[in-house]
């Protein structure tokens, strides 16, 4: 605002619109702070009067219950509520990351398919989007869970593949890799290979910019990333072995188990979120002016090159912001897992733990903080990507 355009004020400070704005904002802020303080102090007063224990010391107490999926070492009889918190947090993170990955891939494919000139593909994509977008996510989670459980046999009648991979209603059982001494060399080889590929990519781009020559980057990169660790694996004397799941008693022992709750949840979340991502992708592609495609076509570029080199890079600028929203939604929707017993943070921490300990305020606050942190981190990361993708003034 330009104060010089206003008539000169008669009596100074209070009539100055800028000062007024500041004063009102300070008053509003004070009011909000006061309200927050009033509610908080009221709450703690009431809690104290009722004789409810407060504080975070419960985190050091032994939890003493079993959890069906733990990514860290967890002992039913020895681990604390803090461990339970971490287990729940990691399980939420796991389902979110896998869900986001599959939702993105599926969403991109369906979104492109929606615009395909092939009638069948575009109609099928449309049907997919309209079906799954319009059914509540909770119903879909329950549906997939029931389908997964109903379709799979009991452990004794498992589907098996080469006697090392088993599928039954206790989950998908895979051989678990056992890393022995010397296996770190393979990891180092893998890291070196990836670093090498990064440099190679830079070099090939530079060469392409200068001379226009194409380098078979993808094929060479895959070869390097696969071959280097494999060669080192054999040189260092095969230090990775596998532990196979085997039927013992009425369940399988050993190996890695992917529980059906995780399968159902990933299924439901990716399929549901993919519909929204597909629509964002379609919107993004349609936002690219037709002239761009026609120009590329007139240069004789093939369809897939037009898509990847001309259309998508421009479309991404439109696509990314709504997709950020969908990623956030997916993370928050993962809390619906409580309906099927997947042990994520809401089920484990503000469910079981809350009931065993009874300290609702602390536990709910911690759970909310987890989701807030996840959401803010995702927003920041994708905002950064968005800024990188934005049109740069040259």
């Amino acid at each position: 605002m330009n104060s010089s355009q206003l008539p000169p004020s008669a009596n100074g400070f209070l009539n100055n619109p800028q000062n007024r704005a500041v004063i009102f904002q300070v008053l509003a802020l004070m009011f909000v702070v006061f309200l927050a303080y009033y509610f908080a102090s009221n709450m703690f007063d009431n809690v104290e009067k009722r004789g409810i224990t407060t504080g975070f010391s419960f985190l050091d107490d032994v939890a003493g219950f079993g959890i069906s999926q733990t990514l860290i070492e967890y002992d039913d009889a020895g681990s604390t509520y803090y461990d339970v918190f971490i287990v729940g947090l990691l399980n939420t993170l796991l389902v979110s990351v896998i869900g986001i990955f599959f939702a993105s891939v599926l969403g991109l494919l369906i979104g492109v398919g929606r615009l395909s000139s092939n009638y069948l593909i575009s109609r099928l994509s449309l049907v997919y989007i309209e079906t799954f977008r319009n059914i509540p996510i909770l119903l879909q989670i329950l549906f997939w869970y029931n389908v997964v459980l109903a379709a799979l046999p009991s452990p004794r009648k498992s589907f098996s593949y080469l006697d090392s991979v088993f599928l039954n209603n206790r989950g998908l059982l895979l051989p678990e890799p056992i890393f022995e001494s010397g296996s770190s060399a393979i990891l180092i080889a893998l890291i070196l290979a990836v670093t090498g590929v990064c440099f190679l990519a830079r070099w090939s781009k530079k060469r392409h910019d200068l001379s226009g020559e194409e380098f078979p980057l993808i094929k060479v990169s895959i070869a390097i990333i696969v071959l280097a660790p494999v060669v080192v694996y054999f040189i260092s004397g095969q230090p990775i072995s596998a532990e196979y799941p085997h039927l013992k008693g009425f369940n399988f022992k050993g190996g890695l188990t992917i529980i059906p709750e995780l399968l159902a949840l990933v299924f439901a979340l990716s399929i549901y979120t993919a519909t929204y991502i597909a629509e964002a992708v379609r919107a993004g592609i349609e936002a690219v002016p037709n002239g761009q495609k026609e120009a590329a076509k007139s240069l004789g570029l093939k369809d897939h090159i037009i898509l990847t080199k001309v259309v998508l890079p421009q479309a991404l600028r439109v696509i990314i912001p709504p997709v950020i929203n969908q990623y956030l939604n997916l993370v928050k929707n993962s809390s619906l897992a409580t309906a099927i017993g997947y042990p994520e943070i809401v089920t484990l921490f503000s469910g079981t733990t809350l009931n065993q300990v009874g300290q609702a305020i602390e536990i709910i606050l911690m759970t909310m903080a987890v989701y807030l942190t996840f959401s803010i981190v995702i927003s920041l990361m994708l905002n950064w990507v968005n800024a990188k993708m934005a049109i740069k003034g040259r």
């Binding site: 509610f39 908080a40 009221n42 709450m43 007063d45 009431n46 809690v47 009067k49 009722r50 004789g51 409810i52 224990t53 003493g64 219950f65 079993g66 959890i67 069906s68 039913d76 009889a77 909770l138 029931n146 459980l149 109903a150 009991s154 209603n169 206790r170 013992k248 008693g249 009425f250 369940n251 022992k253 529980i259 059906p260 709750e261 809390s335 619906l336 409580t338 309906a339 099927i340 017993g341 042990p343 809401v346 089920t347 503000s350 469910g351 079981t352 809350l354 009931n355 065993q356 300990v357 009874g358 609702a360 305020i361 709910i364 759970t367 909310m368």
Partner: protein, 337 residues
């Protein structure tokens, strides 16, 4: 979903200053209705029948308190709660009384700001397995997967039992007892573990009740009882003595059928119970016919047991520990005098 519900309760708790100051009795009388927290469906304890009417031994207890306080057992608003919501609902004042097969433990009694008013059912934790597994003892369950309800003492007992017997297990934890039995039906787990009384109810819910067996082992003590907020001694007394009145009535042979005739009884114990002598009702802050109302309109403990879980019900559970003290059980009323 659940999170917002709990958050909302907390929000309400923070909004209302000095909730504790108004006595629960006054509030209930003023509202004219008792808010009673029950389960989302445990047959025999609190579940709706085919007509949507709440039935069960815990439901009868809610009605007894309503009869004693308001003179009418129908003046109860049933609020179904999952295991993990129940204590928060009571703490926040959403309910006046929790009668939801809750196990009396030291932690719950001392750190949640709640008080257990007594025990209305002595239970223990057992196991339900498929017959086709060919198991006859819990000791053979090494490596089994269990379906459990979240936020229960069951979860903790299971760990203790398997640790003590050096066995391994996996737990799949569900929110409600309905989901738990559903998981078991679909084969997600080998066994369900819960309070033995609930297992009989769950067995009835199976498609083929005879395809499952309840194992003989009882691995824990589960004294189930009504819970009230800490710090309101008058309300605590009312709830506690409502329970004693139902026991005392059974012991004295007073039932809903003969209570009117018993009003003329010269037995001093019955006279004190029914308020024709003594001041038990007045001292509780209730009318003198408080116990008469309970017995006439709901019944004595034996009647409640029989029609909900005992021989008059599909569950057909033995009285066992829940028999009166002079008939080999643990049910014992403090003298009303």
């Amino acid at each position: 979903m659940k999170l917002t519900k709990i958050a909302l309760m907390l929000g309400i708790a923070s909004l209302l200053p000095n909730l504790a100051s108004a006595s629960t009795l006054d509030q209930v009388v003023k509202k004219g209705v008792l808010n009673c927290g029950v389960s989302t469906g445990i047959p025999g304890f609190s579940a709706t029948d085919s007509k949507g009417v709440w039935k069960g031994i815990d439901v009868d207890f809610c009605q007894s308190v309503a009869a004693a306080v308001l003179g009418d057992p129908a003046k109860v608003k049933y609020i179904p709660l999952t295991a993990k919501e129940r204590f928060t609902a009571l703490q926040s004042g959403e309910i006046d009384l929790l009668a939801r097969s809750s196990t009396w433990t030291a932690t719950r009694d001392t750190s949640l700001g709640l008080n257990f008013a007594g025990v209305n059912y002595y239970d223990g934790q057992g196991f339900l397995v498929n017959k086709e597994l060919g198991i006859s003892s819990a000791k053979e369950l090494d490596g089994a997967t269990f379906c459990i309800q979240a936020g229960t003492t069951t979860e903790l007992n299971l760990t203790d039992y398997f640790k003590a017997n050096k066995m391994a297990y996996k737990a799949v934890t569900y929110d409600t007892s309905g989901q738990t039995i559903d998981g078991f039906k679909k084969g997600r787990c080998d066994a369900v573990t819960s309070d033995a009384s609930q297992l009989y109810g769950l067995k009835l819910k199976m498609n083929k009740p005879n395809s499952v067996v309840v194992l003989p082992e009882i691995i824990s003590k589960e004294p189930l009882g009504p819970v009230v907020r800490q710090g309101d001694d008058q309300w605590f007394n009312i709830v506690r003595w409502t329970m004693f009145a139902t026991l005392e009535a059974e012991e004295l042979g007073v039932s809903s059928a003969n209570v009117d005739a018993q009003l003329k009884s010269q037995n001093p114990g019955i006279k004190r119970l029914l308020g024709t002598s003594g001041k038990a009702g007045e001292n509780l802050g209730l009318s003198s016919d408080w116990a008469y109302n309970i017995i006439k309109k709901v019944g004595n403990y034996g009647e409640m047991f029989d029609r909900n879980v005992g021989k008059g019900s599909p569950l057909n559970i033995e009285r066992g520990l829940n028999n009166l003290w002079n008939q080999g059980g643990l049910m014992y009323s403090m003298p009303i005098r």
